[in-house]
Symmetry: D3
Subunit: 74 residues, 6 copies
């Protein structure tokens, strides 16, 4: 029955279907290992958020990423 | 004042505006009948989630639907 | 698979187990009627929120209710 | 560490990047002023919701707005 | 920056601090492995929900558990 | 119509009713200033989360706070 909601700021290189499947499989396995939940009872929902709509430290992620121009990972 | 959030995995045949209106009307009526809430105080938000982003039983809904190829209803 | 989250400001007369069961049954039935979902695929979670933690119109519900001292229903 | 989630019904005139940045800056400042939180510990996420998916008083916002045809502000 | 929210129906044997720490560590590690996120950027929030407030298949979990009287795991 | 949800890890010195009222008033005012929303249309919900249930950087906040034993602000 556990529900897991993962929220991520969208990146230039979008999260792939394979990465999403790995997140879903990994979280489900964790629920089984730690809490002994049946895998089929686990629901996982991934929300990808526009970086303009995600703020950290008082600024939109779009602004933070422009400034860093680095590997843009956070 | 009640807030109701409905989350659904998007289907090939998208949820229509009429279905959404029926969900909103039905939930609002339920709040009035069960909890005596004023209808104008009820807020309903429907989130349609990409099936690739929704996992059940350790797998994305896209994978589950491909395998079943049945009425794909869940 | 639909998930429904109902958030309510807690009242002096708390929501009873029977009212919660009626909300859960009613929302599940609505999902079946409007979207043809299987009842056993519907999850409903009710969050009861301390009125001090719920604000409407710029004020906590505790303050609004003290002022009205009326049927206090919203 | 505070997380703030702002949900808005999308309007014809969309919320601009500048307005989103002002919301993020304003909420972060408020957390610092009222709760003495470090600005870099504050996360803000803005969700813009399709008006067809937002119900108030038993009706979708699309229907409410069509009827009012006024300044459409709510 | 990822946010992960885990919602669980509370059980008779409550989730221990060690289990919660294992969930937090496991989810954070998964974000690092799958998405290359820095561990210190990952936030995890666990919500334990009263079983009376959690509905599955149209019934509160309290009712489902009473009927099963089995290992009560879901 | 905007909904604002503020999630905080509970601290030893709990958030006071006056602080909550200031958060509610401040967020509502911000919605009016930035987006021209009517104050009475703004809903704010504050969730206080047990520090054992809040993880940052792979650890529960309880563990982080024990280690720091500093002003415990985050």
């Amino acid at each position: 029955m556990p529900l897991v909601n993962i929220r991520l700021a969208r990146r230039e290189l979008p999260t792939t279907a394979a990465q999403k499947a790995a997140l879903i499989a990994g979280v489900t396995q964790l629920m089984q290992q730690v809490l002994d939940k049946r895998p089929d009872s686990v629901t996982v929902i991934i929300d990808e958020v526009d970086p303009e709509n995600w703020g950290q430290g008082g600024e939109p992620v779009t602004v933070i990423r422009q400034r860093s121009k680095g590997p843009a990972q956070a």
